[in-house]
Each structure stands twice: as C-alpha cells, then as structure tokens.
C-alpha cells in the first residue's frame, strides 16, 4: 500500500515536470506553423531543421560556449577549491561568501553588472564577453561540488606522498586528483548544464550576430517560435535521454563508496 502511494506520488511529479516537454515534442510534429493550431502530423520540420543555418549556428555557439566555459571553470574552480580547503576558517568563510554571490544573486543583477563592466572596459560585445560571463557564473558550481570531496580526503596521504619523494605536482595527480575526481566531474557537468540553459546573463552580454539557442528562442517567443526549434529540442532531449539510459545500464566497474555515489547522482 505504501509502495503504491509512493509510486503514485512520483508519477504525479513526473507528470508535472514532463507535461510541457511532451507538449513540445508533440508540437514538433505539428504541420501548422503556429503553436495555436493542430494542422496534422508531419516530419517536415525535422528535415528543414538541417537546412536552417541560423538555428544550427546558434546550437553550435551554445555548445561551444558551454564546453569552453565549463572546462575553464572546472580548471579555475578545482584549484580554487584546493586553496580554499587549506585556508583558515575566517578567510574561507569570506571567500565562500564571495563564491555564493553569483549563485545567489539575482541573475538579472549579475548580467547587468557584467554588462556595465564590459561597457566601461570598452569591450566589443560578442563571443568573448558571453564566454567570460559564463565562466564567472560556472566557477561556484565547480567549487561547491569539489569542496566536499576534499573535506573527506585524508590530508596525510598527500603528505605521505611528498615524504616518499613525489613532487607536489606529481603527488597532486597521483593522490589528490583521483580522490576528488567524481566531484570535479559533477562540477563540470553542472557547469555545462547551467551554461546551456542560461538565458538572462547571455541576454545582457551578447553582441551582434551572436545568438545562443536561448537568446534565439527569446526573440522568437515574441514573433512565434519557428517549428524547427521544437524539433531541435526534441532531438536534443531524445539524444540525452538515450545517452543517460545507456550509461546507467552499463554495470559499474568501479567500487564506489556510498558517499562518492551520491555526488554523481546529484549531478
């Protein structure tokens, strides 16, 4: 009885979260050009998607920015996490408060503040400005997912490695990195996903001719979304779904502790 209740509850939540997604997928097969009318089943939007250079270009920009910003943020963020972990409590609390700013501050304020900065620096708005902005709001996600892993680590292993004659860099790669890797990975994934889904900050820092999928969609929301956008979203969604199912089906070859598992799960 309890189980049925649990399942029903989960089912209802999933229904709530996925109803709009199902709607979008259905719309991608709608022959009518407007969202408001059902004009019969068609696959033509999937065909025209691959001829639509504007959308493909936006997709490319989105992925490139997400990849570059997530990589850079992972690099800076992991180093920062190691440094923060070794700090005294007061310094650490201070730096963590700053780290929390981009995560907790209103996205609109972050976007606007960066826009003001770029203008005062006389930078030309475009790829670079968007990339810098995305790195900025991605770093905290990396720090916050690496830090707990560092805490669980036994600091003596690193010192032991040094005592045994390993160089600090060598010790880092052989001792620290393998231990914190799940955290680094989940930080990277979180950063990548956040960058992918961001609209507001990109909106304020983008320049002429540069569009990510989000900004493209925002322009189209007002004019009526082009059906190709639905088919693209459906394709991305299905691809990620299949990838996730595949990854989850392969048996785990690593022996994870429950704790390291948790973090992978979350992200």
């Amino acid at each position: 009885m309890k189980k049925i209740l649990h399942r029903t509850y989960i089912f209802l939540i999933i229904l709530f979260l996925y109803a709009p997604i199902a709607t979008l997928i259905v719309l991608s097969f709608n022959a009518s050009k407007t969202r408001a009318k059902w004009g019969g089943f068609t696959l033509k939007w999937y065909q025209s998607l691959f001829q639509n250079e504007v959308i493909l270009e936006a997709l490319y920009t989105t992925l490139l920015i997400a990849l570059l910003s997530a990589l850079t943020a992972t690099f800076i963020g992991t180093i920062a996490a190691i440094a923060i972990n070794g700090m005294k409590k007061r310094n650490r609390a201070f730096l963590m408060a700053i780290t929390n700013i981009p995560m907790l501050n209103a996205e609109i304020v972050t976007g606007i503040s960066l826009m003001l900065l770029f203008i005062s620096l006389g930078m030309r708005f475009g790829f670079t400005t968007v990339l810098l902005a995305h790195i900025t709001f991605n770093i905290p996600y990396v720090i916050l997912s690496v830090l707990p892993r560092l805490k669980q680590m036994n600091p003596s292993t690193y010192e032991a490695a040094l005592d045994l004659g390993a160089s600090p860099l060598h010790a880092f790669f052989k001792v620290i990195l393998p231990d914190i890797f799940p955290g680094v990975l989940s930080g990277f994934l979180m950063a990548f996903t956040m960058s992918l889904d961001d609209f507001i900050i990109t909106h304020f820092t983008k320049g002429p001719g540069l569009d990510t999928l989000s900004t493209k969609i925002y322009t189209e929301v007002k004019k009526g979304i082009k059906p190709e956008m639905y088919s693209l979203s459906a394709l991305i969604f299905i691809t990620v779904l299949i990838l996730l199912l595949l990854v989850n089906r392969t048996p785990k070859d690593r022996k994870n502790t429950t704790l390291s598992r948790q973090e992978e799960i979350v992200l």
């Binding site: 509850y9 989960i10 939540i13 709530f16 979260l17 709009p20 997604i21 979008l24 719309l27 800076i76 180093i79 920062a80 190691i82 440094a83 972990n85 070794g86 730096l95 963590m96 780290t99 929390n100 700013i101 981009p102 907790l104 209103a106 609109i108 304020v109 972050t110 606007i112 960066l114 003001l116 900065l117 810098l132 900025t136 770093i139 996600y141 720090i143 916050l144 997912s145 707990p148 600091p155 690193y158 600090p168 620290i176 996903t193 992918l196 999928l213 989000s214 929301v221 956008m229 979203s233 991305i236 969604f237 990620v240 996730l244 199912l245 989850n248 429950t258 598992r261 979350v266 992200l267």
Partner: protein, 270 residues
C-alpha cells in the same frame, strides 16, 4: 596543501568579474544621470508602483517556496529510501528537463494553460469545467514551482542521505513511533538542506522577469520586470541599478541566513 598562491587566480577572477561589476551597480545606483551622488534611486522603491511590485514578488516567491517544500520533502524521502534505482531516477527526473531550453518549457505551459489550450481541451472532452489561470498570479506561481522545484529537492535529498540510519534505528529502539522519529530526528537533521533549498528557490523566484512575462501576460509587474524594463526599455540605468541594490539587500539577508545554518562553510547548496 597549504599553498596560498593557489587561490590567487580565483581571487583575481572574483575581484574582476564579481566584485568590480557589483561595485559598478552600486555606483550607478547611488548617482544620477550627471554622475553626482543621490539616494533617489534607492528611495524610489518606496513609490507606490515599485512597492507594489516588490510586495507582489515577495508574496509570490514566498508561496512558491512553500509549495516547493511541501512537494519536495516527501519526494526526497521516497527517493532517499529507494536504494539503487535512485541514481538513474534523480537524473531522469531533474537533470534531463534542463536540457530542454527553459524558455521553451515555460512557453509550453502557455500552450497547456491557455483558454483553448491542451488542459482545457481535455477537461472539456471529459465534460468537466475548464480552468482559467493563464495570465494570473496563479500561473506565475505554477511557473516558479515548475522551474525551481529541482533546487529544493536536491539539497533536501542530500541532507536526508547524510543521516546515519543508526540514529533512526536508535530512536525506534528507544520507543519512538514513526511520526515521533520524523519530528524529533529526521526533520531537525535535514533542516540545513531545507534552508539551502529555501534560498535556492526564493531568490530566483523573487527576481525573475521571464516567468512573469510569459505566464502573466505582462499584466503582473514584479520587481524583476521593473528592473529589466529600466535597463532595456526606459534606458534609466541609474534607477535600474538603485532598485537592484535594494533587491540585493534581500539576497544578502538570504546569504547570511544560509551561511549561519551552514557553519562549516562547505556549502550544502548542491
């Protein structure tokens, strides 16, 4: 591992892209068009239309946060009990939708909720009375809950997992019933998760302008909309910055709130 210099790249980055930009918002907020000091942009929050927009934003995000807790807590408990299957489940439920653009997802709610929308067509087909919540505060709350629910579930779920099962067993052995155990053991131990969930939901809900535009038909003005319009349409950056400063006061309160409850400074946010 006590290499101080390791923190330099990040400190530089944070100074350049977090602190200085924020300082510029403050600068604009405390000056007028000619660049001389004024408090006018800050005090503008007291004018009736801004006060109303702020109050409404506070109200709607408060309600949304409450609904998120009510939905997320039982869900997290179920998920935490699920064992191995939970791995794929959580990802499936919460991360996957994020790969579909959030503007499109929110727009899809328009299609669902409209007068001749999907939900009403289904209700009509079943001979049930239709609903009309599109372009009302209720639709905005729905959009907020929809978009921010994951940020409530993940921290609560994490804090529930951290609870040592032995503690719960001990409580049961000592004669507490299920409800008592929940009230005296589980709930207090998961409180940090709930609190970081509250900040993670409340702040974005308080400051959103997209959800209110898409689902509120622009009839409902939240403080986020006012700020956005000052920047993108009225071109009054000073006023926009001033109102942002006021908004930040509320955010700072939340940050203090969450750091106080997270004393070892590890950040339970994710």
């Amino acid at each position: 591992m006590n290499k101080k210099w390791l923190s330099f790249p990040y400190i530089l980055w944070a100074a350049g892209f977090i602190i200085i930009p924020l300082a510029m918002v403050f600068y604009y907020g405390f000056t007028d068009r000619s660049g001389s000091f004024t408090l006018e942009n800050i005090l503008a929050i007291l004018s009736p239309e801004h006060r109303k927009a702020l109050f409404l934003a506070l109200l709607l995000s408060f309600i949304s946060t409450a609904i998120c807790i009510l939905l997320a807590y039982p869900l997290s408990m179920i998920l935490a009990q699920m064992g191995n299957a939970r791995n794929s489940f959580l990802v499936l439920i919460f991360i996957l939708p994020m790969w579909m653009n959030f503007l499109l997802r929110t727009l899809a709610w328009q299609t669902l909720l409209e007068k001749n929308g999907v939900i009403n067509s289904v209700l009509h087909f079943l001979h049930l009375p239709g609903i009309s919540i599109i372009n009302t505060p209720a639709a905005i709350i729905l959009g907020m809950v929809y978009n921010f629910l994951p940020f409530m579930v993940l921290p609560i779920y994490n804090s529930l997992l951290k609870i040592d099962p032995n503690v719960i067993n001990a409580a049961r052995d000592l004669g507490a019933n299920g409800f008592q155990t929940f009230l005296k053991v589980t709930l207090p131990l998961s409180l940090p998760g709930v609190i970081s969930g509250i900040t993670m939901v409340f702040v974005p809900a308080l400051t959103t302008f997209v959800i209110s535009t898409l689902l509120g038909g622009s009839k409902i003005l939240l403080i986020g909309n006012v700020i956005e319009q000052e920047f993108t349409q009225s071109g009054n950056w000073n006023l926009g910055s001033g109102l942002s400063v006021v908004l930040m006061i509320f955010i700072v309160i939340s940050i203090i709130f969450s750091t106080l409850s997270d004393q070892d400074g590890e950040g339970t946010a994710i």
